[in-house]
Symmetry: C2
């Protein structure tokens, strides 16, 4: 990977993504004594940055592979992203989802043209089913976060942010599977002078924090977090990038996530999902170190279940 | 009022307001078979278009009047708007609020520097108290909607929308007190060739609809609507403008308001208040007449109580 390659990735996926806006809030700037630039991937197609990596992964297939389709296991944003990117590129997408996944998530995948294959609710069943479809259909398996092309695609959000604001001192992202964080690290490396990257992670699913401490990929011991997009763990493609260059990983409590989410909803009038609030909670927790700095933050997505919000509990 | 005067109003209030963005959604365009341009006053200062009229009303006072302050009765967005505009211009704002108004609304007014004067919860008590403060402090009473300067200020949202999109066939607004609707009618008259203005109103508070039928100002018989900003009635300053030029007033049911609100939240990832959803519900109800048209819609505001949303009931 180098600067030109990442630029080419961006050019390649441009027809399939929105260039999302960057928003600011005077109130939040005053509160943080910093200039905070929110890169709004909640306004991305299908509502999350995952569209970028999914599009890039499919575009990197050859014609033979494209004709056979792609397969992934996800019940979250990547399932929707792969379905929509595949539809736009004219490729079949098989989505392995637990049979007990919420109907609303199944419906979203169907809306975007994905072909749902149900599996049991444990990891083994999910991986077995993905393997079976890959063999049976000849479909290419695309991992939601531990895939070079996915990582590079996700990096284009920070690339755009740095094109718009070249003098950022740091960028905050959430970390779950590690695709967005690794991609952001690559973008900061090639498209900024010295922009540091800081990740926010739920304390309840702190595998990345502990992986950085131990130097090897750790698994989550708990995953009881409202930030449902961040319950996954790092992989061998993104962890080396993260380990090499991330400035730090900030763990945040559940009440800090909800507070951060409410602040953005109430003050900026935009809908962000809990995973995005994790990055903002990390920023708020570290605001003492950010005085007068130019700070980017990737709002990763805006897909929430409006009938199950954390505000009135 | 003429084109130049309205342009001057806009120039005068510019330092005190945001030029709010205009958003579009491919999904909503496809759903309506039209091009819909959402003027996002939910991103306005204090979260609603009311900032425009409040600023204009205060800026039109003379120095003597400014030194004595302004007074209004409102427990909604106009209370916050007058407080904030007054603070920015350096004027005192006395806000008459029922003693049983929600604490969150009182806190918002205090945050913006308004001086709260409590009154009883009936209209007589509210008006008596406003009158008393006007006498005692020499403060100028500013009505939330039935005031020429307020009407002209509110019209600048549509003025900006028409500056950005000159070829709109029509603009939808909500109608409550009538300030936004009357202002939008003036803007359409002076800044478009033949842009019609259509208002949405809750069936549960359909005074404007009935006023248009009878030709005189009618009062609400019920006001049991989720669109709490639209429970007020028209006045003698805005009704003549509305009566002369509005294309039609579309009444919508409560479930249509909630459906429209949910659609915007889920698909556009922006927070709009129920009053704004009334205008969008009216658009959806009339989409058969809008095929291939360029349609503006004023998203009036985004102030909602997150602990009391209609989605999980």
């Amino acid at each position: 990977m180098d600067k030109v390659t990442l630029q080419n990735v961006h050019n390649q996926i441009k027809p399939y993504i929105h260039r999302t806006p960057v928003l600011t809030s005077q109130l939040i700037n005053d509160m943080c004594n910093a200039n905070v630039f929110f890169k709004c991937e909640n306004f991305q197609k299908m509502g999350a940055f995952k569209m970028r990596g999914a599009a890039n992964a499919i575009l990197n297939l050859n014609q033979e592979q494209k004709s056979r389709g792609v397969v992934t296991h996800s019940s979250g944003n990547f399932a929707q992203a792969l379905s929509l990117a595949a539809k736009k590129i004219g490729v079949k997408a098989y989505i392995i989802m637990p049979e007990n996944a919420p109907q609303v998530k199944k419906d979203a995948v169907k809306t975007y043209g994905g072909i749902i294959i149900e599996c049991g609710s444990n990891i083994q069943s999910r991986e077995d089913e993905a393997h079976r479809i890959a063999i049976e259909k000849g479909a290419t398996f695309i991992h939601p976060s531990n895939d070079d092309n996915v990582i590079h695609g996700q990096g284009t959000a920070a690339l755009e942010l740095l094109e718009d604001y070249a003098n950022l001192d740091c960028i905050f992202t959430p970390v779950g599977g590690g695709g967005l964080l690794a991609g952001t690290l690559l973008a900061a490396k090639y498209f900024s002078k010295n922009c540091k990257v800081i990740a926010g992670e739920p304390k309840e699913a702190d595998d990345a924090y502990r992986s950085l401490l131990s130097g090897k990929i750790e698994k989550n011991e708990t995953s009881n977090t409202i930030a449902d997009g961040l319950r996954t763990h790092l992989g061998d493609r993104n962890f080396p990038i993260i380990k090499a260059d991330v400035e730090k990983i900030v763990c945040v409590e559940e009440d800090e996530i909800i507070h951060a989410m409410k602040l953005i909803w109430e003050r900026m009038k935009i809908i962000i999902e809990p995973s995005s609030a994790v990055a903002f909670a990390a920023l708020l927790k570290n605001k003492g170190t950010l005085i007068n700095k130019n700070v980017g933050l990737i709002i990763s997505g805006g897909n929430v279940d409006l009938s199950n919000l954390p505000f009135n509990k």
